[in-house]
Symmetry: D2
Subunit: 352 residues, 4 copies
C-alpha cells in the first residue's frame, strides 16, 4: 500500500478532526492491518546463572513479604517498560528464601509456575498444598487463593508465566489480599491429582472450566512419559517429541490463556524450521543446545542454552533447535489457547 499524498489541505483537516478525537484511517491503516505479524517483540534470551545471581542479591535487598512477590520480570528488549516478554504474556523468575512465605492473594490473572531450582517449597491453591520439585509445572487458576512457602534450607527458584497483558488489554483485572499470610489447608496433599489426574472422575463431577483441576503436573511422571514415547519413536521433524499439557476434563489446554508444552530432543536431534503465530517462551530443563531464530529481516539470532535458561521466539519467526552433547528437554508456553479460541492460530512447517 502506497502512503497517501500529504497536502496542506489534508494536514489542516487532520488537525481539525484531531480535536474531536477523530483520525484519518488512511494514515495508519498500513500499520494496523499488516501483511504479516509485525510487532516490536524481539528474539531474546536470559541466562539462569545471571538471573540467579541477581535474585540472590535481591534476596538481600528486600523480603518476600515486603515485595509481596520477589520476582525479576523478564522484559522483551523490544517492549521495554511494559512488563512483557511477548506482546501479550509476562515472564518472571521468583525466589523464595528458606523460611519465607509469599502471602496469600488472588487475582483474575492466570499463573503458571515452572520450577527451576530447589526442592521442597510448596504452593497452596484452594485449600491444598503441593510440593515443588524441579521441572514440575504448577497452575494457579484465576481467582484462586494462593500462597507460596519454603520450609526448606535452600532457596527455591521458579519461572512465573502470567497472562497479565491479556487481562490489561481486556481491562478485566480484579485482585484481593487475604488477611492472613497462609490460607487454611482443607485438603490433603495430592488430592487434586487423586481425583482428576488418572482418567477417573468423581461419578457426579459436572462440567469443566477453563483451567485444569490437576494443578501440579509432576516432572517425574512427565519425564517418564517422554521416555516411553521415545521407544515408540513418535518424532516430529519440527518438534522432536512434543506434548501439550491438557485439562483432563476437556482435552483442551491446561489453562484458558496459556498453552504449556514439554518436548524431548534426543542427543544430536536438529529440528526443521518452524514458525507459528504464538510467540513462545522456552525453558530448557535438561541438556544443552542451540536455537537459531530467523528474524523477519533475514538475520539469524543464535541462542546457546543450557538448563534453566530462558529464551523467547516472537510470532511468525522461524526457529530451529538442536540438542548438543546429550538429550535435552524443553518446557515452553505461549498464548496458543487464545489464538485457537479466536480462530487466529497459524503455523508454517516449511523452510525459510
Amino acid at each position: 500500500m502506497a502512503p497517501t499524498a500529504d497536502t496542506p489541505e489534508r494536514r489542516a483537516f487532520y488537525d481539525k478532526i484531531d480535536k474531536r478525537n477523530l483520525m484519518a484511517l488512511w494514515l495508519s491503516l498500513a500499520d494496523l492491518v499488516t501483511p504479516e505479524p509485525r510487532s516490536a517483540c524481539r528474539p531474546a534470551s536470559w541466562r539462569f546463572d545471571e538471573i540467579r545471581a541477581y535474585m540472590l542479591e535481591a534476596g538481600s535487598l528486600i523480603t518476600a513479604k515486603e515485595a509481596e512477590r520477589r520476582v525479576l520480570v523478564l522484559e522483551n528488549p523490544g517492549l521495554r517498560g511494559q512488563s512483557k516478554i511477548t506482546t501479550d504474556l509476562y515472564a518472571g523468575v521468583q525466589l523464595v528464601m528458606p523460611g519465607e512465605v509469599a502471602p496469600a492473594h488472588r487475582h483474575t490473572q492466570s499463573a503458571l509456575r515452572f520450577i527451576l531450582e530447589g526442592e521442597g517449597a510448596y504452593t497452596a491453591v484452594i485449600g491444598e498444598r503441593t510440593i515443588m520439585h524441579e521441572g514440575d509445572f504448577i497452575i494457579t487458576p484465576p481467582w484462586a487463593w494462593h500462597d507460596h512457602g519454603n520450609p526448606g534450607s535452600k532457596p527455591v527458584f521458579w519461572l512465573d508465566g502470567l497472562d497479565i497483558p491479556v487481562i490489561q488489554m481486556l481491562d478485566a483485572s480484579f485482585a484481593e489480599h487475604l488477611d492472613v499470610d497462609e490460607q487454611p489447608i482443607t485438603r490433603p496433599v495430592g488430592d487434586s491429582d487423586a481425583r482428576y489426574g488418572h482418567n477417573l472422575l468423581p461419578v457426579d463431577h459436572k462440567g469443566g472450566g477453563g483451567t485444569s483441576p490437576v494443578f501440579n503436573y509432576r516432572y517425574a511422571r512427565t519425564r517418564e512419559q517422554l521416555e516411553r514415547l521415545r521407544r515408540a519413536a513418535a518424532w516430529d521433524p519440527c518438534h522432536g517429541l512434543k506434548m501439550r499439557y491438557t485439562n483432563p476434563i476437556t482435552g483442551n489446554h491446561a489453562m484458558a490463556t496459556m498453552a504449556t508444552f514439554i518436548q524431548l530432543l534426543p542427543k544430536g536431534f536438529s529440528t526443521a524450521a518452524y514458525r507459528s503465530t504464538d510467540a513462545t517462551v522456552f525453558v530448557p530443563i535438561e541438556g544443552k543446545g542451540r536455537s537459531v531464530i530467523s528474524s523477519r529481516t533475514g538475520e539469524d539470532i543464535v541462542v546457546d542454552w543450557s538448563r534453566r535458561d530462558i529464551f523467547v521466539v516472537p510470532s511468525w519467526h522461524r526457529v530451529r533447535h538442536e540438542a548438543i552433547g546429550g538429550d535435552a528437554v524443553i518446557f515452553s508456553y505461549s498464548d496458543r489457547p487464545i489464538q485457537e479460541a479466536l480462530h487466529l492460530f497459524r503455523e508454517d512447517r516449511g523452510n525459510a
Copy 2:
C-alpha cells in the same frame, strides 16, 4: 388411565385396520408410555464359581477358534432368548485357554473387557497389544480390529460387556473378519497409555471421538487412586467412593454407549438407597458383600456376593450395598452415556 371400553363395533374396526398395518393407539398407550420405567428386566445374579465350572466344561466341548468367541451369555431371566442382561446391554463371560487365540474381527458394537481371573493373556487393538491383569478394564472401540490370545499356562476369564442390543435396535450392525487370526502389531505395548494416559497429548492431536484412546485402564493404578481418595474421605452416602472412567480427550465417559465405574466400599460401609434410570451390571473384584434390590412391587431381592460374581440392577430399582468383612471394590457398567446424550438420565437419592 382407564382402559377403553370394548364393544363389538370397536372390535370389528380393530380387525379391519389390522389388515392395513394399523392399530388403535388407545389399546396400547398405557403400555407404551408408562408413569415409571416398567420393562421386563429383573434383578438377577450369577456366581462366578458356577460360571467358571461351566466354562471349563465348554472349554472341552468347543475350541475358541470354532466358537470364534468362547463365551457364555448372561441372560436376564426377564428377557430370555434375547441375549441381554438389561434391556439394552449384553454381558458374557469369555474364556481363553492356554495357547488359544480368539481370531481377529471387527464390528460396530463397542466392547468392554473386565478381567476376572488369570494373568498374561493379551488383547490386540489397532496394532497394539495390551497385557491383561485381574481388574483391568480394557476397551475394544467400535470398528477396531481385535483379537485375543493366551500365551500363558492357565485359563483366563473375563467379563464382556457390549452394546449389542443398542446396535440391534438402531439396525446399525456391521462386521468383518480378518483373513488371519492375529492382526499385525505396529505399535509397542503401552503406546496408547504413553500418548494419551497422563494429561499430555501429542502437540498436534486433533479432536476426539466417542471412545477413549486409552484402551487399558490398569487396575493397579485405579486401585491406588481409590486408596489415595480414601485418605481424602470423599465418601458419598449412596456410592461410597465411586469414580467413572473417562476419555481424557473429552472428559466424557470412556465409551460412547457404556459408562464404566469403579467404587470402593470400606469394611462395614452400608450405602443409602439409590435408584437411577440406567440399569447397571455390577462385578465385585475385591471383598464380599450384600446388595439389596427393591423391586417395584416392594419385595427385596438380596444378593450375597463375593469377588467376580455378577449381578444386575434394573432401571429405577432401588439398591443398597454393604461391604462385609473387609473392603470391597466393585466395577460396574450401564448405558448412562446414551441416557445422558439423549437427556433422559434420572436418578433418585431418596429412600424408599
Copy 3:
C-alpha cells in the same frame, strides 16, 4: 461364519446352562453381530386417503377424551404388535375433531407433529399455544406439558412421530397427567419464535438442551426458503434440495432423538440411489412421485405416492425418489441424532 456343529454333548450342555440363565454365544453370535444391518423392518407405505377414512370412522367410535389421543399407529409389517414403524421409532396419525380437546399430559418421550390436513387447531406447550397449519412441523419436548385442541369446524389430522421404542429400550419412561384438560396459558402466541427463531437470543440466555426452543417450524417460512435455495441451485444428486431442521441454540438437530428434514424435488427430478443406517419415514406434503426401495435381497419395492401419504425406508436399504408431474416437497424423520451421538451413522451415496 459357519454354524458350529451340533452334538449330543453340546446339546446337553446347552440345556444344563439354560437353567442358570446362561446361553452359548456361539449359537447366536452370527445373528447378533451381522455383517450388515439385518433387522425385520420392511419397506412399507400407507395412503392418506385410506387412513383418513379409517380415522373418521374411529372418530365416531371413540372420543378424543376417552382415547386420550385418538391415533392410529402405523405398524411396520415386519414388526407387527410392537407399535413401531422402524426398529426404534413410532408413527401414528392423530385426529382431533371440531370442538375436541386431547387433554394435557407429559412424558419423557419426545414427539413431533407434522400437520397433514386442516387449519386452526392448536397445540399448547409449556404455557404457549401455537396454531397449526398444513406442513407445519411442531415439537413437543420431553417432559413438557402438552394438550391439543380444535376450536375450528373441520377435522384436523397430523402425523405423530415419537421415540417410544427408544425410551422403552432405555427403560426410561415417565409420564403424568394434569388434573385439567388444558394447561394454563402464560405466554402469547409466537413468543418462542420471537425469542429464539431469528438468530437473536435474549442477552442472558444460557446453555441449550437437547430440544429446540422453537417449537413450531411454520411451513410457509420453510417453503419460502426452499424456493430461495432453488434459485441458488443447491441440488444434491441423492437428495434434491434437502435441509435439516435445527436447534438454533446448538446448530444440532431440532430434537435429541429424531432428525427432521424437508426436501424439494423439482418436477422430473430423479435422485441417485442412497442408503444410510437411519431408517426414515417420509411424508410428501406437495406433489406426486415414485420412490423405489431396493431390498437387501435385490427386489425393488415401488411406492407411488401423493401428498400426505406415508412410507418408510429401513436401514441400509437403497432408495431413489422421483417427482412426477410437478414439484414435490417431502418431510421426513429418522433416528439420525442418536446414531450420530453414538458415532454409528453411516451412509452410502453409491449405486446398487
Copy 4:
C-alpha cells in the same frame, strides 16, 4: 499494597538489572494486577452530524480508492494515537460516495458494519453481495475477501467495528489485496440467508467456525422481532429488551471476537445501573435519549444522544440509559466473546 521503600542500594540494583532486560516486579505489581479494572479508557461520545460533516469534507479531499478505506477513526480520548475506542476494539465511520468502490482485500481482523445512513450500497463477501439498509448489521469474517460499492446516488455511511487491537496484541495480522477492485460474484443475493438464516441447514452441513455464516442481519427483521417481544413484555431492568445476535450453527455470538446486541428502550424507560467488564460501544439507531456513565472516581458523565450518535462505556463503569420522547433502539458491540472464552467476563447488576 504499600509501595516498597526506595533506597540507594535498591536504585543501584534496578539500574544494573535494567541493562539485562530485567525489572523488579515489586515496582510495578500494583499497576499490573489491580483490585479492579483501571485502564486509561474513558467514557466518550461523538455526534453523527459532526462526523458526517467531516466525512463529506474528507470525501472531497481523498477518494475511497486512494484511501483504500475512507474512514475516520473514533479514538478514545484516554487512548489517543492508538486507533482504539476501547482498550481492545476499534471503531470508525466509513463513507462510500456514489459511484465509488472500496477495493477488495482480506485480513485476519474481523469486521462488523452497522449501516447508519443511506440505502443501496453493497458489500461483497466470499462471492456474495448483500445490499445495505439502515440498521443492518453486516459481518466481514476474518480472511474473507470483501469490497464495498455504492451504485446509488447518495453517500452511504456506516460504522466499522473491528478487533484490530486484539490482533495487534496477539501479533497475528495477515492481509492481502486482490488484483481487481471487485471480487467475482458467484452466489445470488440472499444465498447465505436462505441457507443458514432460518433454522434449517443443508442436510450435510458440517461443523461451525467462529463466525456466523449469516452475514447480513437485516434491520427490518430484527426490528420486527423487538416489536413481537415487546408484546411478550420481556423487559429486563438493566437492559430493557436486549437481544444478542447469534451464530445459528453454534448458538454463540455471531463473531468470535465481538459481541453484537440490539436493544429496545420504550418511551420513558429508564434502566437500572449496570456494569460489566466488556467495554461497550453504543449506537442508537432510533429515538433520543440520555445515558449516564459513572466514572470510577464517582462523577457522572452525561451523554445526550439521538440516532446515529456513538458513545462508549469503558469496562466496569456503571451506566444507566433513558429513552426520551419515544421508543429508542440501540445497537452495541463489545469484546464479550473473548472475555467469555477466557472465563473473564463479570457483570454487576447492583446499584452504585
